[in-house]
């Protein structure tokens, strides 16, 4: 009897361990799925309609881009309150380049991103080298760049942008067939699935080569099947509307690149180390000032990208653009499991957190809740998500 039950018990415990280790991320994915399901029911099936899914992506892309940069800043133990203003400023400058000066859109976009980077360098300098708390530096930046936005725009909106530029946030990857469903999207889903399967298998093989515990085979394949199913369901939904939005490709690339950098490269390790214990990192040879500086430069660049996306979507640069973007981005990071004291957080988590906020916004609007209720509910969700996180953490330490 006992010999029969033993292996089962062991299996259960590894499954439990795996779940426990990733409870933040799994917990948030489950919460996201739950919220989506809830609004799918409440809206009578509107939420998951292809057109709405496409809209969701377009509506949230600029916040998600900001969240990617913000999670890096938060992991280093800082905060950036200025990103909304930077986005507005860069949007305004790009409008002047393209609309007033008739500059080539590509040159204008590159120039705008460089300006974003310079703004990031300005803030990074004060935070990293002069050691002024980021809260203060970026609070100043929030006011400064909002003011500059109004100055360069002279209080007016500038529009319209050239057609090619607008395509950034309203364009779709062109299809080569004339069928009702978008073939490119479907093919992209299949290609992605294959790519995913290959990398997973290669990772597993590498782990085997080093004689690591690779976990249960059944679990591995279940996870793989689930992920492949989700990818293809998603692309098929997109295909049945207008295909893959251009912006989704950009977003996808950013997520992949930043996840890779944070998990696999020295730079990423150093960012986590600084957030975990800046003094110890410094004494271990991490160039803490330099890394902090570049994290802010990066934030400036992504804020510029976000500002360009937003300007393209609105087809105008306005003085009030980007208001409260910083708060949405910060909330996304914290909902996604980042720690306010630094050292903890993932790009993927921030994206999930951003999507939770996005789905909430979208779902509540579809249900017809007013902006007043929306604000309040989002506030509560943020609080509860972080409370859940802290509860888990405390529970985790006592049991170890």
């Amino acid at each position: 009897m006992s010999t029969l039950t033993k292996p089962e018990g062991k299996k259960e415990s590894t499954l439990g361990k795996m779940f426990k280790g990733n409870i933040r991320q799994y917990g948030m994915i489950i919460a996201l799925l739950f919220i989506m399901l809830l609004f799918e029911v409440l809206t009578g099936g509107l939420l998951l309609k292809p057109i709405n899914i496409t809209n969701l992506i377009l509506q949230n892309s600029y916040i998600l881009v900001l969240a990617i940069g913000m999670v890096l800043v938060i992991i280093t133990g800082h905060i950036d309150l200025s990103v909304g203003s930077i986005a507005a400023f860069v949007g305004a400058v790009s409008a002047i380049f393209m609309v007033q000066w008739q500059m080539n859109p590509i040159v204008a976009v590159i120039l705008s991103i460089v300006i974003g980077g310079l703004i990031g360098a300005w803030q990074g300098f004060w935070v990293a080298y002069v050691r002024i708390p980021a809260f203060i530096v970026t609070l100043a930046g929030m006011l400064l760049f909002r003011g500059l936005t109004m100055i360069v725009l002279e209080g007016q909106s500038i529009s319209p942008f050239p057609n090619g530029f607008q395509k950034i946030s309203s364009g779709f990857i062109p299809d080569f067939s004339n069928m009702a469903t978008n073939i490119v999207a479907v093919l992209a889903g299949i290609a992605l699935s294959i790519l995913y399967i290959i990398t997973e298998l290669r990772n597993r093989a590498a782990q085997r080569r080093y004689n690591f515990d690779t976990g249960s085979q059944a679990l591995f394949f279940t996870k793989m099947v689930l992920v492949v199913a989700v990818i293809n369901a998603f692309t098929i939904v997109l295909a049945s509307y207008a295909g893959i939005p251009t912006i989704l490709v950009l977003l996808f690339l950013l997520i992949i690149i930043y996840s890779f950098v944070m998990n696999k490269t020295v730079m990423g390790r150093h960012v986590y180390a600084i957030g975990g214990n800046e003094k110890a990192a410094g004494l271990s040879g991490v160039k803490t000032k330099k890394v902090t500086f570049w994290v802010f430069v990066n934030m400036g660049v992504l804020a510029a990208v976000s500002g360009l996306i937003f300007a393209a979507r609105l087809n105008a640069a306005t003085p009030r653009a980007g208001t409260n973007f910083e708060l949405d981005a910060i909330a996304a990071c914290f909902i996604g499991g980042a720690s306010a004291s630094g050292g903890i957080g993932t790009v993927f988590g921030a994206i999930i957190g951003g999507l939770v906020m996005g789905v909430l916004n979208n779902g509540m609007s579809l249900v017809g809740l007013g902006i007043d209720w929306q604000q309040g509910i989002k506030g509560l969700v943020l609080l509860l998500a972080v409370a859940f996180d802290i509860y888990n953490k405390n529970k985790g330490t006592s049991s170890v």
Partner: protein, 510 residues
Amino acid sequence: MSNNIILEMKNITKTFPGVKALENVNLQVKQGEIHALCGENGAGKSTLMKVLSGVYGYGTYEGDIIFQGKTCEFRDIKQSEELGIVIIHQELALIPYLSIAENIFLGNERKKGGIIDWNETLQRTQELLTKVGLNESPNTLITNIGVGKQQLVEIAKALSKEVKLLILDEPTAALNENDSENLLQLMLEFKRQGISCILISHKLNEISKVADSVTILRDGQTIETLDMHKDEITEDRIISGMVGRDLTNRYPHHESKIGEVVLEVKDWNVFHEQHADRQMIHNANFNLRRGEIVGIAGLMGSGRTELVMSIFGKSYGKKITGTLIKNGKPITNNTVTQAIDNGFAYVTEDRKNYGLILMDDIKRNISLTGLGKITKNTVVNEQEEVMVAEDMRGQMKIKTPNILQKTGNLSGGNQQKVVLGKWIFSGPDILILDEPTRGIDVGAKYEIYTIINRLADEGKTVLVISSELPEILGICDRIYVMNAGRITGEVSREEATQEKLMTYMTRSSS
């Protein structure tokens, strides 16, 4: 002066989990005397004073405290202060951005119906400042006055509480000679006014100057009480009381194969990070040889950590001057990265704050410094990383189920092994270990000594800083002694004795 006893501590025993910090300690302080308390670091002086002042409340220790003829049961500091027992700790407990007057009456505010009476506060402060001879306005902020004056404010604060027994824990450790002298004079003045004092100090010259009697503690026990007036008590007499302990076999036997000189430090001067006019290291000169284990002995605050940290990529100090010569060539260690590239490693004395990233696992802590070795085109090879960490876990005998444990959850000994492993992985040839066995149990200590010996056998140079003299004597081939920012002596293994080291450690010049 009458001979009646103001304080008697009888058979005090205090145990911490696993350690007996005090065992049947007896202390008698006479009315109006300055009573010095001596002993090595960890001998139990501070613990005894914490028992006396109520930091460790009644019931957490055994034995009796009799103050002015009455048995006392202090549950907190407040209760002992009410009777006039005031302790001034080594680290001053002043709030930097409050004024002198506010600090003196903090928690003891002069008030009428809940509203602070500033006139009385300022007037009383002025009186107290005159008493301690501090010529500053009561409204001056603490941050604007030097350490010496801050010490006087602490004393004024004690006086404001109608002090009968003043306890000073290393009061001159952070002071320069002038300020120290003033403080000693002030203590003598208090004595004339009938205030009794307990003085904890490592500076034997100060003790022989002002103390009436000396009680020596060693390993949590009272060794003896000496009357400074009756017998001819020399500094050597006190030292032999402090160290008279025989060495048991707590250190693995080791014969070093010592090679050529690897590092020479010449005319090394370092100033304090905040107070730019305070020189922390004065003209230090020393050298290290291949395969050698060198010790730096010295009391806390003697500048040992400051010396090595300033060498390790200027991690400490300002206005650092001097030359580093490694393998015959001058080198610069301006940043930690340069120091690591030059083959240095520094294992900090404060592993929790400066050594480890507690929220990260063992693997990531071990790989952090040497990340470059398992990196290709800036991408970390995670499989390689696991192998390295597993290897270190085996080498260092880190007792943990796996390398994914958070270092914050490990015991002190295992944490120290992780820090050591991390630096060994970075591949240094000069390892500086600052208090490598502080706060870890005897078994783990032995393992760490074994690791140190192995490193020396591999031809690396190990520099060990330790406050425990037996440890220094047990593992080092050669010992430098520091006191007050100066290297006051160099002793070879053969001629080293605790008495000799203690003499260099407490004498002010070489």
